[in-house]
């Protein structure tokens, strides 16, 4: 009897097929090879599913941005045991540390470090306590940690906070004169022009103070802190939360939003504008997941679906109804 493959062999083969599929379409011969492999062992399909899932997950690495430097990242997030991060930065050498700061926008946690992103940029900022902030496009925060509180002010834009548990030292996000407090949570706070200030809780619990009365927001809920609907928590379906947070993977998700609104969403991420000239077209509902930094690709997809005409001009894209033929 042939020696049975180990689970490790199977994982190895699954990884190889995943890489092969990532490279491009299979030839007929390769396709037959893949099917033969899948049929040859009851573990193969499952191993391939896992390998492809992790490969899919790694697509979100794009959110790390062009400036991502794994060497610098390693120096920052994995200080050798027994050293503080500050020491680790010194230890890693001035040049590496500077590169790390530039690449990641991490200030050694002194009072009032400001981190900002340009248009189209998404930036992950690890904090000294193991928490992190993911900054969306065109955003700005100020980090101010002290012994009693982990405080971050959202000055403008949108940020996702992943808060590491610390019952003795609350994590506080200040926005628009309000304080959002938690000991452990994953939540998004948004402060955009011409829109209500809003908090959305993905995991854990966030206490909202500074209004009347104080409120606790649970996972899968959101609340406006300004505007007509302010102060009323709203429950959300998990799918809605996923969609709202798609920007963390560099994506924009729509489900039935009018095209005009979707086009406006892209404007936050890029200087390339999408102009929808036809009012009827602008009301067409859009559904799908799109790369936030590719307004032209989005417009092409839309044009195909709605049979619209697309003109790519210098500063943007113009969508019009194709003349009836």
């Amino acid at each position: 009897m042939a020696k049975r493959d180990t689970s490790r062999d199977i994982d190895q083969a699954a990884s190889q097929w995943t890489a092969r599929l990532d490279r491009g379409p299979l030839t007929a011969e390769e396709e037959a090879g893949l099917q033969a492999w899948l049929g040859g062992d009851p573990r193969a399909k499952g191993a391939l599913l896992r390998a492809r899932a992790l490969s899919m997950m790694s697509e979100s690495a794009q959110a790390l941005g062009e400036g991502f430097d794994p060497v610098a990242f390693e120096a920052i997030v994995a200080p050798p045991p027994g050293r503080s991060r500050r020491q680790a930065l010194l230890w890693a050498g001035g040049a590496t540390a500077a590169a790390a700061l530039a690449a990641l926008g991490v200030g050694v946690a002194t009072a009032g470090t400001v981190v900002r992103t340009r248009r189209g940029e998404i930036r992950l900022t690890p904090l000294e306590d193991g928490s992190s902030v993911l900054l969306n496009t065109d955003s700005r925060i100020r980090i101010r940690y002290d012994r009693g509180e982990r405080r971050v002010a959202l000055l403008e834009g949108e940020a996702y906070f992943s808060v590491a548990r610390d019952d003795d030292r609350p994590f506080v996000v200040e926005v628009d004169g309000r304080r959002l407090t938690t000991s452990q949570a994953g939540f998004r706070v948004r402060r955009l022009d011409r829109a209500p200030v809003e908090v959305l809780v993905n995991q854990g619990r966030v206490d909202v103070a500074g209004g009347k009365p104080g409120l606790a927001l649970a996972a899968n809920s959101r609340m406006a802190l300004s505007g007509p609907a302010a102060g009323r928590p709203q429950r959300l379906a998990p799918e809605t939360v996923t969609r709202e947070l798609a920007w963390r993977d560099g994506k924009l998700a729509f489900e039935g939003e009018p095209l005009g609104e979707a086009a406006a969403a892209f404007a936050r991420y890029s200087d390339t504008t999408i102009e929808v000239r036809d009012p009827v077209l602008a009301r067409e509902p859009v559904t799908g997941l799109f790369a936030a930094n590719d307004p032209v690709g989005f417009s092409r997809a839309v044009a195909r679906v709605f049979d619209a005409r697309i003109e790519v001009e210098r500063h943007g894209v113009v969508l019009t109804r194709a003349p009836a033929s």
Partner: protein, 200 residues
């Protein structure tokens, strides 16, 4: 990947994979001796891959454990050498501890950060290829041209990167003791340029 495939893969990534460390822990206690937990996990995933639809699954963790249990039972029946007693034990292990959901446990482990760490820990050339592919989104062909190695070698590096992630994330994230075994030689001989490979 077809849309249906992609959808199933996404579902698996979001709702099943986070439970893998818990499943592995349970299997290492519950699986009869001679049965490798890793084999059971892969076979359970195969069953999930072959499901017509996953829409009805409301409690993915419980479901995953149930599927893993059915895999064990199947092997036990086929082997016919396990005593009734062992089977009885299995029955009693029907309800794996349903402690905190993985969402709660991984709350401070931002996925992206984990990913950045995992990538940072990859072997040099593999890391370079993986960064170009996943962070910059270049196709494998272009990466080959940039790194001046063959497309086949790039494919091998990407596959090593995926295997690395399987280990990294499957074993509950960042276990540094695990990384030592990746200190295997690079595929291409080192050429002295690799030290500066991460800056372009």
């Amino acid at each position: 990947m077809s849309d249906a495939d992609r959808e199933r893969t996404r579902w698996f990534l979001r709702t099943i994979l986070p439970h893998e460390p818990a499943l592995r822990g349970w299997l290492s206690r519950a699986a009869p001796s001679g049965m490798d937990p890793e084999d059971v996990i892969q076979e359970a995933y195969t069953i999930l891959a072959e499901l017509e639809t996953v829409e009805g699954i409301r409690h993915p963790k419980a479901y995953l454990f149930q599927v893993a249990r059915s895999v064990i039972m199947r092997h036990v029946r086929r082997a016919r050498i396990v005593s009734i007693h062992a089977v009885d034990d299995l029955e009693r292990l029907d309800h794996p501890d349903d402690d905190a959901s993985p969402e709660q446990r991984t709350i401070d482990r931002d996925e992206l950060r984990q990913l950045a760490r995992a990538i940072a820990a990859m072997p040099l050339k593999t890391r370079e290829a993986f960064v170009l592919r996943r962070v910059r989104g270049l196709p494998q062909r272009e990466i080959a041209a940039r790194m001046r190695i063959s497309e086949n070698t790039i494919e091998t590096h990407i596959s090593r990167g995926v295997l690395f992630l399987i280990d990294w994330f499957g074993r509950g994230g960042n276990r540094r003791s695990q990384t030592s075994k990746y200190a295997e030689p690079e595929i291409a001989p080192r050429d002295g340029e690799t030290r500066h490979q991460s800056r372009h």
